[in-house]
């Protein structure tokens, strides 16, 4: 059979077929896939899977293919969280897990920066934001601890081959508009089930122009958009990122969607038309142009999480904050997503721009985004770069969280109320 006779397929189909060890898969088909890598953190990982492994008398199928990261209970603030983190440390040691990152940052950022994710891989993560890895053209999705157990025992998982929803952004985004605005806009327009647990693929000139960490934000918030995976076809930007992390990568993978592949939906959108977005409490789908929420007073501006405090996010905030001070009565908190990103931010002066403006630095962990440790107090009004503003997630049930980009959160910290950040970039 020549190439021209092959069925035209999506990137998602190619990735799943590769993992299933077959030439072709059709959407809707249920296939068994070989897992190239599994990732867990301290909350969903050893403390949940170890007792089940023990009950089954089973072992981890390949200790080289299981990466464990502590991030949810870092810093440990009480006996319960200390014991969860300690259990994680003890278990990885006993089990012989070599790829263990303890307090190095948030799993979704640590894995790519340490070179674990390459185009074409099939990866599961014990966290809903696992789709972040899709930014590299890997099929990566989130699973619960019991499914993780199945993977750890067998190295395999079943999957219903998804259809693809392709989202193409033509042209370029304006200055002050970024990946977070894209995802809040998509959640608002199509709902938190817009992705229909299918593959969502981001494409078009504006996506090609994004650096890797911005693409990671797209893939990451595919979860809030309701997709199983969020994919970006690898290109020179991907390969360059991987090379700088010492990853030996095959650039001729052919990991992309064929031109005439059959799709569930294709949305063609105009990048220059997108304005900074803000999502009001209590849903990422409550989004509208930032200007519509302008004037909403805030007490806390929070820059944190895998989706909102990577180096690129810190750079955006620094562009706004340089030479300014946070409004009196407002507390600006920054929890850089990884220790390495923080290091680089410090080296290049980005971090200083934040602290000079009055930012308080918090540990490199999930922090208030997960709401497992320190939480926002009663009635706090917060604008945040995180992924979810569900009621009571980040703090007291009476606290209210608006979501926005690092530009918008930084600009709002200076103003003391929500603002469209573009005025400060002029």
């Amino acid at each position: 059979m020549t190439d021209t006779n092959r069925p035209r397929t999506t990137l998602a189909q190619k990735l799943v077929a590769n993992a299933a060890g077959v030439a072709h898969v059709e959407p809707g088909e249920i296939v068994m896939c070989k897992v190239d890598l599994a990732m867990s953190h301290d909350s969903s990982g050893p403390r949940r899977v170890a007792p089940m492994l023990e009950a089954l008398g089973a072992r981890v199928w390949d200790t080289e293919k299981y990466v464990v990261v502590t991030d949810h209970y870092i810093p440990a603030i009480d006996d319960e969280s200390r014991s969860i983190v300690q259990f994680t440390r003890d278990w990885v040691k006993q089990t012989g897990i070599r790829h263990f990152y303890d307090g190095a940052g948030i799993c979704h950022v640590v894995l790519p920066e340490r070179g674990h994710i390459r185009p074409g891989m099939f990866i599961v993560g014990g966290d809903s934001h696992a789709p972040t890895g899709g930014a590299f053209g890997a099929y990566m999705f989130g699973i619960g601890a019991t499914e993780m157990l199945g993977v750890l025992v067998t190295g395999e998982i079943w999957l219903k081959v998804p259809e693809t929803i392709r989202i193409e952004w033509n042209g370029r985004f304006g200055d002050g508009v970024c990946a977070k605005d894209v995802m809040l806009y998509l959640c608002g327009r199509f709902g938190m089930d817009g992705g229909q647990y299918q593959a969502v693929e981001y494409a078009g000139e504006a996506v090609r122009a994004m650096p890797m960490q911005e693409r990671m934000t797209l893939a990451n918030m595919t979860t809030e958009f309701g997709g199983q995976v969020g994919l970006v076809a690898p290109d020179d930007v991907t390969f360059e990122y991987l090379r700088t992390r010492g990853v030996d990568v095959d650039e001729a993978g052919g990991w992309d969607t064929d031109d005439d592949a059959s799709l569930r939906a294709r949305h063609t959108l105009c990048a220059p038309d997108l304005s900074p977005q803000v999502a009001a409490p209590d849903s990422p789908a409550n989004s509208a142009s930032a200007s519509q929420y302008a004037g909403q007073a805030i007490d806390i501006a929070y820059i944190g999480a895998c989706t909102g405090a990577k180096l690129e996010d810190l750079r955006m905030a620094a562009r706004i904050l340089r030479g300014h001070k946070v409004a009196s009565g407002v507390s600006l908190m920054v929890a850089p997503a990884s220790a390495r990103d923080q290091e680089q931010a410090a080296d290049e002066g980005t971090l200083k721009a934040l602290t000079d403006a009055g930012a308080t630095l918090l540990p490199n962990s999930c922090g208030a985004c997960a709401g497992f440790g320190q939480r926002f107090g009663e009635d706090a009004r917060v604008i945040s770069t995180t992924a979810r503003n569900f009621k009571g997630r980040m703090g007291a049930a009476s606290s209210r969280v608006w979501l926005g980009s690092p530009f918008t959160v930084a600009a709002s910290a200076i103003a003391g109320s929500i603002v469209d950040p573009r005025a400060l970039l002029a």
């Binding site: 909350s43 969903s44 949940r48 089940m52 009950a55 089954l56 209970y73 009480d78 319960e80 969280s81 969860i84 993560g125 014990g126 966290d127 809903s128 696992a130 989130g142 699973i143 619960g144 601890a145 019991t146 499914e147 157990l149 199945g150 025992v153 709902g191 938190m192 089930d193 647990y197 979860t223 809030e224 309701g226 199983q228 849903s283 789908a285 997960a370 709401g371 497992f372 939480r375 979810r388 569900f390 009621k391 009571g392 997630r393 049930a397």
Partner: protein, 166 residues
């Protein structure tokens, strides 16, 4: 079981932070489950009875991969969650934990407090008091089998035991 199984009605996009609040994730399931749904219906965890049915709108279980969400509902004795649609990750977790989750396009027509029985094998929600029944999407046979076993672990154990030869 005491009394007839009743319906607890919830809306669209019920998230995992509502079902299994983050502040209690560090505790065991007993304490975690006592806070299940407290932000939406504070009386739910203390009043729900074994066999009761949770009915919801679109996209039930959006959010986290935490399987304490379906685990808490199961721990409280909820016999099934019937919704117009489910978040994919929650759906997989629920089945794996042995909590029946049923897609019912007309779930929105089922009222709070109604007596309801879910017939998994035939894919139906029955409301005997109203002499009504609503069709649901059938659950594939292998998942029904796993539910009957009590979830993936129980199912694996049964399979492992059945193939062990002395």
């Amino acid at each position: 079981m005491s009394g007839e199984p009743r319906v607890w009605r919830f809306g669209d996009d019920v998230d995992t932070d509502a079902i299994a609040p983050g502040a209690y994730m560090k505790f065991g399931i007993d304490r975690m489950a006592s806070h299940c749904m407290e932000g939406l219906r504070p009386e739910f965890a203390s009043s729900v009875r074994p066999g009761d049915v949770v009915v919801a709108g679109r996209n039930f279980g959006i959010g986290s991969s935490r399987e304490q969400a379906p685990e808490a509902l199961r721990h409280l004795g909820v016999s099934a969650v019937v919704a117009v649609s489910f978040a994919g990750l929650f759906y997989r977790n629920a089945m794996n934990l042995g909590l029946a989750v049923v897609v019912c396009p007309r779930a929105g027509e089922i009222d709070d407090g109604t007596t309801a029985r879910v017939d998994l094998a035939n894919g139906r929600v029955e409301l005997p008091g109203l002499r009504q029944s609503f069709d649901c999407e059938p659950i594939p046979a292998f998942l029904l089998g796993m539910l009957r076993d009590g979830g993936l672990i129980a199912s694996l154990k049964r399979r492992l035991h059945s193939v062990v030869t002395p």
